[in-house]
Symmetry: C2
């Protein structure tokens, strides 16, 4: 697997760190989550995304944006607001969002021989 393209962005930029605990069962989460992932890619100022979720339902998504304004616009988008409401009603037990500014990046990829 290649190193993330995200690592090549020049800082500073913004990172929204979304830490969440899923409830049991899918309840439409997978479809809506894929739809939101496709939609955020079209959002002006969106730079990239990283996500991981463990078998215990604990997940972290980090979305990178050019500006605070881009984050606010994405947060207020009608379809995203509707997904947020479904998240609180059905998909998440709890979540924390850390609005951050990325100041520098270090990146490493294993070489072909070692």
């Amino acid at each position: 697997m290649p190193a993330s393209e995200n690592a090549k962005l020049p800082p500073p930029f913004h990172a929204v760190i979304f830490v969440s605990q899923r409830t049991p069962g899918d309840n439409g989460y997978s479809d809506e989550s894929a739809r939101m992932a496709a939609m955020v890619k079209e959002q002006p100022g969106f730079l990239g995304m990283e996500a991981a979720r463990g078998p215990d339902g604990k997940g972290i998504t980090v979305a990178f944006f050019e500006s605070e304004e881009a984050i606010r616009d994405w947060g207020r988008l009608a379809e995203h607001r509707s997904a947020q409401a479904s998240g609180r009603a059905s998909w998440y037990d709890n979540y924390q969002i850390y609005y951050s500014r990325v100041e520098r990046i270090k990146s490493w990829t294993k070489g072909p021989a070692h």
Copy 2:
């Protein structure tokens, strides 16, 4: 599961976002990873940590620190440096580290009735 205690920290503080792709097999990773998690908790200026890794081996760990100095000291600790070397030799295919500053936090937990 309760909301993370980390959500109660007052910003601003620092977040080190570590995105990594594991190689197949354990190769001593689990033991060393647990040892490092215990050790960072003793590090002056450490505030908390969140982590998730999916079945594909892609993982995100976010460690929160009071200052850049605390991050630097942890990065330079001899036992941590040795773990970093093992990471590059055996455990990771690639990783990216985003050094960030957390500016604000939003937190939500499902209420008892809904």
